[in-house]
């Protein structure tokens, strides 16, 4: 299943947020979206997932979603969006309730998702009893439970400590390895972007336009090598200077005007 951003523009009232953004996510690919705060990354993701209607253009899909997917386009939200009246387990179970699953199967799926996010000890806790990082993990566990064809992730690891992040990142990479699942991965962390993405879409400051699309020249499995490490690090700092050269000056201008 491919996902296509087709000349998407969006404005909130008078505020132009996205300007003619187009790209294609091929089946099993991971596209990272990076760009300055407030440039429209979350907005773009909402449009791609059908939660927002763009002012112009549209999101499209092509091909068939995998038959076992319970929700082809699945979000991991930036603000987690947990149901405060549901326990951790119930939150993860929530999207499965209307799927065609037996009680038993559902439990198994929930258990699996919680184990993968190290939340098994907190099955019965309510969101208000969780730390920020734990909430984020609940959001990820919920998304994993529905076997998405494409994951739409909005800074899914931002509130996590480096260890947990490392572990979840490895999990993501393992999940994505067989090529059945694609992802749009919004992040502000270039290291993450370089590690996980096939391509990186760099957005400009608001209104977000595509500045660059950077293809990572290594397959994800190759990136674990010690050789590759160097290359990735270089890629990352190149990307950083690219972003920097484009935006920092402009930002500074505004900031110290």
């Amino acid at each position: 299943m491919d996902l296509i951003a087709h000349h998407i523009s969006h404005r909130f009232g008078a505020l132009e947020v996205l300007d003619d953004v187009s790209f294609t996510l091929r089946s099993g690919e991971v596209v990272a979206i990076v760009g300055p705060s407030g440039c429209g990354k979350s907005t773009l993701l909402s449009i791609l997932g059908g939660l927002l209607q763009p002012s112009a253009g549209q999101a499209e899909w092509r091909g068939a979603p995998p038959p076992d997917s319970r929700n082809p386009l699945t979000f991991v939200f930036q603000d987690f969006a947990l149901l405060p009246w549901c326990t951790v387990a119930e939150n993860v179970e929530f999207p499965l309730l209307h799927a065609n699953l037996s009680e038993r199967e559902r439990c198994a799926v929930v258990d699996d998702a919680l184990r993968r996010t190290s939340l098994s000890d907190f099955r019965g806790a309510y969101p208000r009893q969780l730390s920020g990082g734990m909430r984020q993990r609940v959001g990820i566990a919920r998304a994993l439970g529905v076997r998405p064809a494409i994951l739409l992730m909005d800074e899914p690891l931002s509130a996590l400590d480096s260890q947990t992040r490392e572990l979840l990142m490895e999990d993501f990479i393992r999940l994505l390895a067989d090529g059945s699942m694609g992802a749009v991965y919004v992040t502000h962390n270039l290291e993450e972007a370089v590690r996980i993405a096939d391509r990186i879409v760099v957005l400009s400051r608001r209104p977000g336009r595509i500045r660059e699309v950077v293809t990572i020249p290594l397959s994800r499995s190759e990136r674990g090598d010690i050789h590759a490490r160097e290359q990735l690090l270089a890629l990352q700092s190149d990307l950083w200077s690219l972003i920097r050269e484009q935006a920092v000056e402009a930002e500074r201008e505004v900031q110290h005007a």
Binding site: L3, H6, F23, G49, G50, R62, E212, V213, T215
Partner: protein
């Protein structure tokens, strides 16, 4: 080092575009906006049907006078000038009663929402006193306050008080605790926290409470004007009921309804004004 894929990779190839389907929009609904006219249209429809039922003789006009008869009664009343007397007398009572009841209700509601002692005592007393029928208490009110304006205003204020207090304290309960902690962390004084955090946080619930209490005030004007009132919409309605003049009775009811509509619109306005941040 960077492999800049540039424009051609950024836009989808045109040839496979044919089979692409738009992603279904899933974010629709759950944000109802009241149409400007739908309410009025429905109102007119119902009135039309009612008139039809009356004119066609489907209902006994004694049981349910048609809108035309009610309008006529209202018109006569307005011409005679009595309408104005009744309305002005009642408006003063309703206004004063509502304001008093609301002030007391907001104060008690905040106290219950903020203090453990007030909560224990307040909820018990509200539970115990709210269900006391005002009609049963009228003799006591007359005895204590006479038959002037005081007991009439007190009746309305009493009715308004309880439901306001309940709405307010449940609104206070619903204010997110993390915002209060934030304010405390900045050393914001208690009064300021109440005014700038708890009050706006409880406001949605308070306004819903006002919607209820304003109607209750209108409703209670009839009970209030049982107390030896010569003028007032309530007194007028009571007299019409006693004399079985159903067209006049309903004319009085229509006046109360019109007030209700006006107050409803006012609260809609307040909501869009004060809760625009939602």
């Amino acid at each position: 080092m960077l492999d800049r894929a540039g424009e051609q990779a950024a836009s989808p190839p045109a040839d496979i575009n044919a089979e692409a389907r738009p992603v279904a929009f899933r974010g629709a609904g759950f944000a109802p906006k009241a149409g400007r006219y739908s309410g009025w249209i429905a109102l007119v429809l119902v009135l039309g049907l009612w008139q039809l039922a009356g004119s066609a003789g489907w209902v006994n006009p004694l049981f349910l006078p048609p809108p035309s008869a009610i309008a006529l009664a209202l018109w006569k009343l307005a011409l005679s000038g009595a309408l104005w007397n009744h309305v002005s007398a009642s408006v003063v009572r309703i206004g004063a009663g509502w304001i008093l009841g609301t002030m007391a209700g907001v104060a008690v509601g905040f106290a219950i929402g903020l203090s453990s002692l007030a909560r224990g005592v307040g909820i018990t007393f509200i539970s115990a006193l709210f269900p006391i029928p005002k009609i049963a208490l009228l003799p006591l009110l007359i005895l204590w306050l006479g038959i002037g304006e005081e007991p009439k205003i007190a009746t309305i204020a009493l009715g308004v008080f309880f439901s306001t207090a309940i709405s307010v304290y449940s609104g206070v309960d619903a204010v997110p605790r993390n915002l209060i902690r934030m304010a405390q962390s900045f050393g914001v004084p208690f009064a300021s926290i109440v005014r700038r955090v708890i009050w706006p946080g409880a406001l949605p619930s308070i306004l819903a409470g006002f919607r209820i209490s304003a109607s209750v005030a209108l409703l209670l004007v009839v009970s209030a004007e049982m107390i030896g009132a010569q003028f007032g919409i309530g007194a007028f309605v009571l007299q019409a009921g006693n004399l079985m003049q159903t067209d006049q009775l309903l004319a009085g009811v229509v006046v109360l309804s019109l007030f209700g509509l006006a107050v409803g619109k006012l609260i809609n306005l307040l909501e869009t004004r004060l809760l625009h941040w939602r």
